[in-house]
Symmetry: C2
Subunit: 712 residues, 2 copies
């Protein structure tokens, strides 16, 4: 691990013993008023100090003219004064040795240059004084476990049994986060902490996330994410969640460049590439959901504290053939398997269903349920017992269960099983609110549409599978022998940022990291070229080797299929002439004489430094695949052996490597090995901004890098 | 048009003057009881004759012991007797000269062999007597315009202004269809007709659809579709809808084979290929929705009778930066463009928004709306006036508008604009039911989630664009000259079903349809082969031409790059020897001597006969693209010039044809022409079950078919 992402110091901002509200108001609707009244109402047990020279008292609490008059220590100060007074107030806080400030005030980097300068001043000041900084432009920090409502927008924290408060959330949008908090709470989703991270001038999204991941009260962590500046920190926080097997669920905006730009101007984060985020989410088993409804539905599954699906085999109990078929479709799309029932199950179902129903999977109870609603409940219990089944989706027709006896049966079934049970409401734009709420408060997973029910089962199944895969993959050992990083250090001596390394230097670096090259040599004259050709055997290819020429073919600097001494002589002269014409004065390191490779499949392995996450590795097939078909896979470094395998298998063209049309399968193990070595190289030498092995030729046995380019 | 899909006779089943219910019951909850009471309650003005020997009267109506005792004519008989009595009852109906029967009874083909035989008997009987047959296993036919509720499950038809009944629906699932009817009705979607088509032993899904498409009262037609047997009829019905510019919206189950099989066993339809259905939907601008909620939301847009979006430029008005960004993302994914506002709009917005809000698109009104809800309404009106904008999505925060004054403003704005306005409810699992209902009944398009709001705007925008495209494409004339179908007729004389045609015969057929071939000739001996080679010039390729050998390369029957007479002689002898070894006794039509083609891009054009839709054309790039990457496009014949263009542009690898990496662009016009000719050939000669041009080589100018195979 490069750095410790979890900073224990942060605890003070979630668990202070005293809070001052600077810019306190007697109007509970104002940002400076909400915390004063709500801290008391939510039962916060620490000291609460309103600060405002205009009041003697607010809501029964003594009000101080400035923070310096507050008796005793102040752990957290909430700042709700106008923007132009924030800096002064922070000076006062620093003098008072306040440990953390939550700046609710808006009007900083989000409004342009003037605000940006003020924000920089705030950063300087808090850094110097060692105060933790949340915001500015935050809507606050909330802890439902100690009644701390240090912000506005949310005034009433969740009450009730702390055991059912399991979920922590960080939002990069105040309003949207508040909507998530309120609407989740209403459907029985219990929170531990909620943070509106604002402009993140001090503490960042990743900091709060890491805190919650480390917190024993929080079982599930989520966030609304537009983008981060500290991708590595987020990477390590996610790694920690993965190790603790604590689910991490994110809504991530910015799939498309336009939205990403809007988000970046909104939060001041980097735009970042959504495809890198997507790869990162996959690597770290992060559940990416599309909106509030999907989020709360995933939470409704995780909230129950029941085991996750052990496999992907699903049973469907529907009240009509049509909706059963439609659900099957959606299940298959979500990676679930609608499997046949056991004989015993079929028999039991046949005994209770009408002859025109179906005891196959999906179960069709038919419209007979209109007169006999119990017909839905009995099959549910039967299929939950089927040993072929990992989870059940049960379709509830709103209206049928208005008397709730049917739902009581569903709740009983959910409590009695070790399998995942999801209730899907049929076509419930309007109806079913009460039933939905009834199930949620009884902690039965429920979704208001087929789509959402199935997508969410897909998410949790994928998460469960992924966790197991990653756990199992720890046993895949691919130790990287023959790596000589000192040699690379020496090879890179004297190179400068921005410099393109020549093909031969790039290849020496690959060699030092144990990556096989094509049989070849570098020649400064024809005589040496001929000697190399005789050593490695005709046919050969020759290529210009110059740091000044990156596109060798365009420069006329490549000749293929050379079979004789004569041909080699002519080609040698010709490419030197071509290159001199193409770029007079280009520095020539020599001419590479390379064995023409027969057969094999051409691949590309590349490294790019992502502005957010740092080094990332790309894999694809050579030729037109990466560029014209955009068929490639991507991972953030460091890459695990599991990642390397997946990178190869997930490209659309992977069949070309597994023995397409009777061809022998390519040596994929050797490809995994090169991917891992390249990842190691990129992590060890972050100064290598780009690495490009194109092509890496993959044979039935072994691989070799036929060309390489690196840029500092 | 091959056939007239609209049968005027069908009208009687929707507009009868008299209805008998055979198996009538006094219990309105029973299938035989519901129509008796509900026909009266719904105000059906024709005669209603309950038939059941067990009753004197039902609900004030005289009840007859059998249909023969009914006085006067019976247009429609609803059959609700037990399965084993249906045949007898139908005999009675035939004698009574009943015009149409709706068989509600289940227990026919859907329960297996015994039922299937009874169903065949029903089909025979109704055909002989000329009675129209709906069902069996139907839940009925409903007409909200004349109060005809001829079935069960739906007892109460929609009342109110007939002008707002605009939508007709056909469902292949009774229960699911009923759910759609009930839930749509509840949210203010007005129906004309609703049909539960049952087992479709007589009238089919396509028949009902065609009726509604032709009906002047029905403005929009929809269906729940699992599969049809008569794909051509569906194709022509869709064509009619397209010509009338009447939107057709379908929920189609069976994306995946497993679900398709469940559907097929459910309705007795053919499994069909979902990719062919998908192509067909695109060709005919059919809107495919994923479920009930998406369906009713599309209807909420179309119901308003307002113009469809004129373009794809959208404005977003959201109450938080976060949800605006998320909406932008979803819009881009749905093919909508989140464009910049005009300067005037920006200025107007800046005047009313807080400094930390955003007057860019998406508009961020900020959490200031909590104290000033009007801040949402003002920007809505401003952006609706922006000339850059075709439609607006307006995010409503449930709870804010509880007093409905805000919503009244939205309704007013919707009524005053010629643009599409969609209200999206923020995170509304539970809240917002009343507001949703309020907007629906005021015919303002509204969706309960961001996803649905955006998907639906995507659908209607795509529909609107597609209609315009198809209208405009009528001007693309690509007359197919030089087609000699008589020659093909002669060429096919004496061929048999299942027979593979030789390469040379296949090529003669292509030639007769004006498709260019590579320069070549057929030789029976080496002398002729040499002559052909000299005529067309070396280098040449030679290939065995035999109807018995389809995989020429596998048989060693192909030699490429032949440069001299000597080489030709050796190759000629060799491939004959290879083929004799590979398949002794194979009939040889000769050896094809073909010019080696230089350059060009290899494509594949194929025809397959789909079991549902008949001839379909496939297009893709040659080599590994179609098979290993599954990169191809598909259309149902006949293909329009617009289809042909789209087939080429929609494959992932299309950049390889438009001038990739500085290569000259390929002659796509020539490709379109070949696709159209192949489509014509497939339509003219349906006995050609498979056509395979692989490769069609596409040059900078022109194309030529280098190999061809046809199967009868």
């Amino acid at each position: 691990m490069e750095q410790d992402v979890f900073d224990k110091k942060i605890d003070i901002i979630f668990n202070p013993e005293s809070i001052a509200i600077i810019g306190a108001s007697a109007d509970p609707a104002k940002p400076g008023g909400t915390p004063v009244s709500s801290l008391v109402e939510n039962g916060f047990r620490g000291n609460v100090y309103p600060v405002n020279p205009g009041y003697e008292k607010i809501g029964g609490l003594k009000c101080y003219p400035s923070i310096e008059f507050v008796p005793g220590e102040v752990d957290v100060a909430i700042i709700a004064v106008p923007a132009n007074r924030v800096v002064n107030v922070l000076h006062e806080c620093a003098r008072k040795k306040v440990k953390a400030v939550i700046v609710l005030t808006s009007g900083f980097s989000e409004v342009g240059n003037s605000g940006r300068e003020m924000q920089e001043e705030i950063v300087r000041l808090t850094k110097e004084s060692g105060m933790l900084l949340c915001g500015p432009n935050s809507q606050g920090i909330f802890n439902a476990l100690n009644g701390m409502s240090a912000g506005f927008a949310i005034s009433k924290l969740q009450t009730g049994d702390d055991n059912f408060k399991f979920y922590g959330f960080v939002s990069q949008s105040g309003g949207f986060g508040t909507a998530i908090y309120l609407m989740s709470s209403e459907t029985g989703i219990g929170f531990t902490y909620f943070v509106s991270s604002g402009n993140e001038a001090g503490l960042s999204f990743s900091d709060y996330l890491a805190y919650m991941i480390n917190d024993k009260n929080t079982k599930v962590v989520g966030g609304y994410l537009e983008g981060v500046k500290d991708g590595r920190k987020l990477f390590h926080a996610a790694d920690m969640a993965l190790k603790n097997e604590k689910p991490l669920i994110l809504i991530k905006a910015g799939r498309h460049a336009a939205a990403a730009k809007a988000a970046a101007s909104h939060t001041g984060s980097l735009v970042g590439s959504d495809s890198v985020y997507t790869s990162f989410f996959h690597q770290k088993a992060i559940i990416r959901v599309e909106g509030i409804e999907e989020l709360t539905t995933v939470l409704s599954v995780l909230a129950a504290g029941r085991p996750l699906p052990k496999g992907n085999r699903i049973a469907i109990v529907a009240s009509s053939g049509g909706s059963g078929v439609l659900l099957s479709d959606k299940c298959v799309s979500a990676g679930l398997e609608v499997v046949p029932f056991t004989e015993i199950t079929r028999k039991k179902l046949d005994e209770i269903l009408p002859s025109f129903g179906s005891s196959a999977n999906p179960v069709d109870t038919t419209s007979q349920i209109l007169v006999e609603p119990d017909l839905l409940l009995k099959p549910l219990k039967i299929v939950l017992d089927d040993t072929n089944i990992d989870m059940v989706i049960y379709e509830h027709w709103p209206g049928l269960g208005r008397n709730f006896t049917l739902l009581d049966g569903v709740i009983e079934a959910a409590n009695a099983t070790e399998k995942t049970l999801m209730v899907s409401m049929l076509g419930s734009e309007l109806l079913g609110g009460e039933e939905f709420q009834y199930l949620r408060t009884h902690r039965v997973p429920v979704a208001r549409t087929q789509d959402r029910a199935v997508r969410v089962l897909g998410h949790v199944t994928q998460y469960s599978r992924r966790i197991k895969e990653i756990r199992a993959a720890k046993d895949i050992k691919m130790p990287l022998k023959n790596i000589d990083s000192n040699r690379v250090k020496r090879l890179l001596e004297g190179t400068k940022p921005g410099q393109a390394l020549s093909e031969s230097l790039s290849k020496q670096i690959l060699l030092a990291y144990g990556i096989p090259l094509a049989p070849e040599g570098s020649a400064q004259n024809l005589k040496t070229a001929l000697k190399i050709a005789h050593d490695i055997g005709f046919p050969v290819a020759i290529k210009i080797d110059s740091p000044d020429i990156q596109h060798k073919t365009d420069a006329g600097g490549v000749k293929l299929n050379i079979n004789t001494d004569q041909e080699l002589g002519a080609a040698f002269a010709e490419i030197i002439e071509n290159v001199m014409k193409y770029k007079p004065g280009a520095h020539l390191d020599g001419i590479t004489v390379q064995k023409m490779l027969k057969g094999g499949t051409e691949c590309i392995i590349g490294v790019k430094n992502d502005e957010v996450f740092g080094p990332t590795v790309l894999f694809g097939l050579g030729g037109v695949f990466v560029e014209a078909l955009e068929d490639f896979s991507l991972r953030v470094c460091p890459i695990t052996p599991l990642d390397a395998r997946e990178m190869v298998s997930e490209i659309r063209g992977h069949r070309l490597l597994t023995g397409f049309r009777g061809a022998p399968p390519a040596d994929r193990e050797a490809v995994y090995d090169v991917i891992l070595r390249v990842s190691q190289l990129a992590m060890d030498f972050k100064e290598l901004k780009e690495i490009d092995i194109n092509p890496l030729v993959v044979f039935q046995q072994g691989v070799c890098a036929a060309d390489a380019l690196m840029i500092m």
